[in-house]
Subunit: 355 residues, 2 copies
Amino acid sequence: MASKKQIIKQKTIRVDTASRPNVNLRSVAKLVGVSTATVSRAINHPEIVSPHLREKIELAANQLGWVPDGVARALITRRSRTIGAVFPTLSVGDFARATNAIQAELSRAGYTLLLACSEYDIGLELQQVRKFIERGVDGLILVGQNHHPDIETLLSNRNMPVINTFVYDDKTHGTCVGPDNRKALIAMTNYLLDLGHKVFASIAQSTRNNDRASARLEGLRYALAEQGLAVRPQHLLMGEWTIEEGRTLFRRLMETDTKPTAVVCGNAHLAVGAVLEALHMGIRIPQDVSIVGYDDIEIMSHLPVPITTVRVPSAAIGSTAAQILIARLEGLEWTSPMESMPELVIRQSSGPPPA
Amino acid sequence: MASKKQIIKQKTIRVDTASRPNVNLRSVAKLVGVSTATVSRAINHPEIVSPHLREKIELAANQLGWVPDGVARALITRRSRTIGAVFPTLSVGDFARATNAIQAELSRAGYTLLLACSEYDIGLELQQVRKFIERGVDGLILVGQNHHPDIETLLSNRNMPVINTFVYDDKTHGTCVGPDNRKALIAMTNYLLDLGHKVFASIAQSTRNNDRASARLEGLRYALAEQGLAVRPQHLLMGEWTIEEGRTLFRRLMETDTKPTAVVCGNAHLAVGAVLEALHMGIRIPQDVSIVGYDDIEIMSHLPVPITTVRVPSAAIGSTAAQILIARLEGLEWTSPMESMPELVIRQSSGPPPA
DNA sequence: TTGTAGGCGTTATCAG
DNA sequence: CTGATAACGCCTACAA
C-alpha cells in the first residue's frame, strides 16, 4: 500500500469557448437535492415522479433558466426529432408553399425542419442529403424521383425514411406524394383535343434534372400520339421559368410558318408571359390561340384573360408528406391516399381552335 | 481478497432502437489499428497526421461508409454549425427568396439552416426561437425588430448572435440588415408630391405585428405632414396581401366621395390587384389615378400598365445576413454596409394628377 | 507523431 | 418512487 505510487488525477479543465450558459441538468439536480435521473424523469415522464419533487424541479429549472440540451439528448436517444428537406429552389411558389406547410406540420408534432436547396443539381442534392445525415436527421423529404444513385444506398444503409414529393408513381406507392404529372398532362391534352385542336406547341422549363417536367412532356406526347399527332420540333421550346421567358418563347412560336392553335406551357409563369405577350401582339385568346399553364397561381385568374391551368395542391402535398413521415417515425401506419389528383381549372384562355 | 465479495459488473446492453449504422470512429480506428484520437485528428487536422496513416484511415472510413456523427461532435464542441431562421411566412416572395439566399450562403460556409415560420405571431416566434436554442443553433436570423420581450433575455443570457432582417435602424446598427422602411416611403411619397398629388390613399396589409408595414405607413404620414397633408380615414384601408384584396380595396376606395389621385399600396400583390381592378373599371392609369407598390415582383413590369414600386433586394439581404452571422461566429469583423438602399423603380403607373 | 483517458449533457438500466 | 452509474460518439489536453 505504502509502496504504491500515488497518482494525482488532474481534472481536465475546459475553457468555455462557446457561449452556452453553464446550467445543465446536473445544476438543477444539485439545487433541488435529487439525482440527475430524477430530474430527467421529471421532464420526460412526469407521471412517474412524485408531485412534490416534480414541482420543486420545475421551479428550480425555471429559476436557473435551464432548458434541456437537445444535442446531448439526441446523442443518447439516437433521434434528433429533426427532418431534412431538400427542394430545388424556393423561388417557385409551389415549393415555398409546400415548405411552409411542412414546417407547420413538423412543428405541430415537435419536429424541426432542416432546409436546403439543390438548385436543380442532383450532385448538390446528394451533398445536402449527406450533410443532413451527418446532422442526424430522422427522415428526409425530397422532390421528384430521380436522385443521385448514391442517395439510394446512403439511405437504405441506415434505413432512413424518405418521401418524394410532387410526383406520384404506383410502383413506389408509400414513398411519394403528389400528382401524377404524366396523367395530368394527358388530361389537359385530351381536353384540348376534344375542343378540336390539332396543332400543339409547348413552352416549357428545361427537363434537365426535372423528372416532373419530363413526365408532363411525356404525357403531352402520349395523348397526342394516341390521335396520331405530334408536336413539331419548331413548336417545342424550352427555357427558364419566368414571365419574360414566356413572352420571348411565345413570340418566337408565333413567328413560325405553321402557327399552333394550342400552346401548352410548362408552368404558371411561362403561361402568364405567353398570355401577356399575346395580348400585346394583338392576338386574340382563345379565338386565335388557346394557352394553358400548369400550376395555379393567383395572378392567373386575374389577368384580362384568365388562364386555364392544372391546380396542384402544394400546401396539401407538403403537409401530407410531413404527416406520413412522422407517422412512420412514430411507428404508426398511414393509409390515406398519397396521389393528389390534379384538378383542371378551365378558364377563358382556352377554347375551340379557329375555323 | 478472498473475503471480498465479487462484483460482476454487467455491461449495459442497449438495443439499437434507432436505425443508425453501428459504425463509428472507433470502428475505423480498430480497422486501421490506431487510436481513436488519430482518426479524429485525421479528419479534423489532417496536416498533423502522417500521410501514411491519413491515407489508410480515409480508406477505412470509405470502406465502412463512416461519416462523423455531427451530434456527438456538437456535444463536445459546443457548436452545431447550425443557424436558425424564423420568417413570418414563405408565401411572400421576398421571404422565400431571402431564405433561399441564406441557405446558399450558409451551405457555402458549411453551416446548415433550421427554418421555421411564425405566421406573423410573435408568440409563435418565441416558441420557435426557444426550440432552436434547445437544438443548439449557433445563431439566429429573424425578420423585423419587434419580437416577444422574452427573446431578448433568452438570447443575451447565452449571448447568441442574431440578425434582424428587412429592417434598418441606426440605433441597432450591426444587428440588422435591410432597407429603412420609413425612409423608403418618404422617398416614394415625396416623388408623388413632386408630381403634384394632394389626395393620397393607402391600401396596405395589416400593421399588426408587422413593424415593417408600420414603418412604411409612418413614412407616408410623415412626408405628407411635412406638406400639411394627411390621408383621410376613408382612404386608409387594410387587409390581406393578395391580388384579390387589392382589387376589393381599390374598388372601395373609388366609391368614396373624394377620390384620391395617388394610391400607395403596401405590397406588390395589392398594387397588382389595384391596377388590374382599375383597368377593369375603365379608370385610366396614371391619367386618372396613380398607383404605386412596395417591393418589385416580375409581373409588375409586365402588366399592360407597368407598376411604379420600391425595389427591395431580398436575396442580397438574405446573403448579407448570413455572411454577417458567419463572420461573427468565426470571430471576424464585418465592415460592409448593412443598410440596403431601396431603389425607386418608376414605371407608367404613376404620373401627374388629373388637372 | 501517436496514444491515453476524461468529459460534453443527457437517458436508461438496474438495484434499492 | 428514487439513486447510482454506464453509455451515446466524439474531441482534446497531456503524456509518451
